[in-house]
Amino acid sequence: MRFVDEYRDAETAQMLATRIAALCEPGRHYTFMEVCGGHTHTIYKHGLEDYLPEHVSLVHGPGCPVCVIPMGRVDDAIDIAKRPGVIMTSFGDMMRVPGGTGSFFDAKAASADIRMVYSPLDALKIARQNPDSQVVFMAIGFETTAPSTAMTVLRAAAEKISNFSIFCNHVTIIPAIKAILDSPDLRLDGFIGPGHVSTVIGCRPYEFIARQYGKPLVCAGFEPLDILQSVYMLLKQLAEGRSEVENQYARVVPWDGNPLALDAISRVMRLRPYFEWRGLGFISHSALAVHDDYAAYDAERLFEVPGVRVADPKACQCGEVLKGVLKPWECKVFGTACTPETPIGTCMVSSEGACAAYYNFGRFTRQRVTEAVRA
């Protein structure tokens, strides 16, 4: 397992940390956003912030699919699930996400037929096996999962399965990054780009960030050293006065993405004029709906949903966490009223959420560091 050693090696990490420190301009503070929740997970799990100089901060971005679903959409999905003859199917991540009137788990306890699936193809199989029921798949996620949903709809159409539909909540990462860049709340120096979204969309869509906003972006892998190396690459660009898109994760991410996956998305889905994101508000052209050609597979057209906008609970500060304005532990209810067992906000639900990642790992890392310093 030589690659593991290479990507985990503490000496290499230390070496990278020294080189990172050497690249920092004295007196300047650097703030980089890791867009993807998977990166947030790695950063807290491995205590990577301890390897960075004090004047380099990492802030967490909106790249957690479950976290950005607004409460009103959860309520709409539950409304569909409660109808007679409907089987709602969902990724496990989504089950505990609170809407205005409870979660999927709550609705299931109140006898709605809601089933966890690993893949949209599992949902399609349930539809084949239950021809007298309407099987709806709660489709969520960025460009990483949208192609799978699209392929499943294409498969349903090819097999002429008429009791399957999707409740489409797929979102696209670029408009969210743009919204953050345009937000006055936060001044960023660069981005650690999402690795797995980029396997689909490639690196080109990020070029406007470098060109128009003058911020570097490095597509990064998920090993601890991948992330440290990406920070190094970002600082190197800044030190050399460059702002470019670079691909640290080239061993998995092709520069042009996956054309077949992009084609599947564009056949089955179209951009919505706007969509509400939890915490970020309404963002233009930031989400996907089912294309007219596949209207028969669109749960939004088959079932009339309330479509009511539900404000987040007052105590919840997921919005600020998703924008990187607040660190998880700076939220008023973090770890007290809001825990992974009884989440108030979405960031505490998913393993990719910043609050859950910090709750599970970060606080212990901090504790270890504090204790080590004392000893």
Partner: protein, 90 residues
């Protein structure tokens, strides 16, 4: 969900099904390979699996790295593996 699982292609199903059997740490499951270039996928290839679909091809060494990382993630990986084990695509 966005956490990909690396798996090794063991066998490719009949043409037109887009299905293949993968080995993920000893567990054999069906996945869909329709998002990879048709005819280029061979038994022995390593792919990154997202929600039942091979989303990109990776080499074996990369697969080993990612697996090790995921093992290190602990619960999240266990949950993802359990979810995969419960999946029954055919």
């Amino acid at each position: 969900m966005c956490l990909g699982i690396p798996g090794e292609i063991v066998e490719i199903d009949a043409e037109g099904t887009d299905l293949a059997t993968v080995d993920v740490v000893g567990v054999h499951r069906k996945i869909n390979i329709g998002l990879l270039d048709a005819g280029t996928v061979r038994a022995g290839d390593w792919v990154l699996v997202h929600v039942g679909f091979a989303m990109s091809r990776i080499d074996e060494e990369e697969a080993a790295v990612t697996l090790e990382l995921l093992r290190g993630l602990g619960q999240a990986y266990t949950d993802e593996l359990q979810a995969l084990a419960g999946s029954d695509i055919s």
